[in-house]
């Protein structure tokens, strides 16, 4: 069982506000790891540190290490651009570019030097199919991505991330804007992807976490309360707070 990402004593600050407090966690390779916890507990903040997206926010700082491929991703040896091509991400709010659907998907591959039209076409088709969007948009690949419905936009963003063939895929509530059918497709997809990729997913849905994840981490107010195999966490949590949260009737 390989450790893909190893987080050690991580603190994270927005200005003076400490959003993450001494996080220690080991993300396993070719597994799906789910982050759960109430709103505002720091799930998004944490998942965003893993590909250093938080670098883009002014006034943030971190303490501690995140080891990926044997190196601290915050060290000077690691190239942040390279990191992000390997550690892909899907956001909570869909954020397609104001370009055509096609251009959205090929944005990443083109940056990586793929120029051939045929190959790009193929990438567009497979990515969209993987993201369960192909049927709906195949006839209007040239129309603006902004004219899609909320759920369609989110699936487009997933397709966009998949087009990069990342090593690790971070997903911040990727299905919160999706209907059951699309959700089911994405979940199936995640199941397939985990053979090749390592997946970290933030979700509000206990059911979803239970269905698709191998490991689950429960966060509360910036702290990692409990982390372990999903079956264990769901059936027999060690911490009272985890139990309270999980046995909430809702989801």
């Amino acid at each position: 069982m390989n450790i893909k990402i190893d987080v050690k004593n991580l603190d994270f600050f927005y200005g003076d506000f400490k959003a993450l407090n001494n996080i220690n966690i080991e993300i396993e390779e070719n597994k799906v790891t789910a982050f759960i916890g109430p709103s505002g507990c720091g799930k998004s903040t944490f998942i965003r540190t893993m590909n250093r997206m938080n670098d883009l926010i002014d006034g943030t700082k971190h303490v501690g290490e995140i080891i990926y491929e044997g190196k601290n991703i915050y060290s000077s040896e690691v190239d942040v651009v390279e990191l992000r091509t390997k550690v892909g991400m899907v956001f909570q709010k869909p954020n397609p570019f104001p370009k055509s659907i096609y251009e959205n998907i090929v944005f990443g591959p083109k940056r990586n030097g793929i120029k051939k039209k045929a190959e790009l076409d193929r990438i567009v088709e497979t990515s969209l199919k993987d993201a369960a969007l192909w049927e709906e948009v195949k006839d209007r690949l040239d129309s603006s991505a902004w004219s899609l419905s909320g759920g369609q936009q989110q699936r487009l963003c997933i397709a966009r991330a998949l087009a990069m063939k990342p090593d690790v895929l971070l997903m911040d509530e990727p299905t919160s804007a999706l209907d059951p059918v699309a959700t089911s497709k994405i979940e199936e997809l995640i199941g397939e992807l985990k053979d090749k990729y390592t997946i970290v997913i933030v979700t509000h849905s206990m059911q979803q976490a239970g269905r698709i994840s191998d490991n689950t981490a429960f966060f509360l107010m910036g702290k990692l309360i409990e982390y372990g195999e999903t079956s264990k966490i769901f059936s027999n949590p060690e911490d009272k707070r985890t139990e309270d949260y999980i046995t909430g009737r809702f989801g």
Binding site: L56, D58, R84, F91, N95, R111, W146
Partner: protein, 285 residues
Amino acid sequence: MSNVKKRKLIDKGFHILVFLTTLFGLLILSILLFDILKDGLKWINIEFFTNFTSRFAEKAGIRAPLFGSIWIITITMIFAFPIGVGSALYLEEYSDDKKILTKIIKLNISNLAGVPSIVFGILGLGIFVNFLGFGRSILSGALTLTLLILPIIIVSSQEAIKSVPKELRHGAYALGATKWQVVKGVVLPYSLPGILTGSILAIARALGETAPLIIIGAVTFIAFIPESIFDKFTTLPMQVYNWSTMPQTEFHDLAAGAIIILLILLLGANAVAIILRNKYQNRIK
């Protein structure tokens, strides 16, 4: 309920108000255009384009200034657009806002917008004409105008770049795009309409300036067409100015004729920008 009525009334009133303000601009424009067309239209014929200026209004034409203006505006935009957009990109995307140097550059640029154009003329005379030895040529004129309109392009590009939503940038970064790729792929397309607006205003300014060109030595009488950027030149607004200070009223009408051509040239130069702007603004919506 009366509250809603009142608010609706305010809204109606405001609608009418802003409509009227827009109409005001259009009204003034039509008065100006009417005035210009009334005086100038009758002078526009083939000879008007093929003749050089003359002391006889019937024989006077705009051949030299027309070509001069086209040269000047083309060269100016070739320099000003990339420099302006590049500067704006540096300031908004690359520079560190907390650095004092960045703050100074930003302040300095909007301050440059307030420097009278004639001072740019004196600067251009010193640098381009004398120091760099470009002489009193189209190149010197265009470079001088470039410096003059840079602030307009930079400031408006900066504002346009600032308005690009964070999520879009983040989306691109998350795909492993480098800064430049984010800029090229997301920031520039999104902010292009605003950048183009700045360019449109800048073109208008550059096309209409006389004072700095006089200082750097644009001539008023010239009976040949410039053939390279090192040639002497005159421009339409200089011809317009010259004709309108003549005592004879026919020349004033002739000036109106030249203004019509100047405006057509302006619209032509702007057309590309306007079409592109509309296209990109549509996409963003």
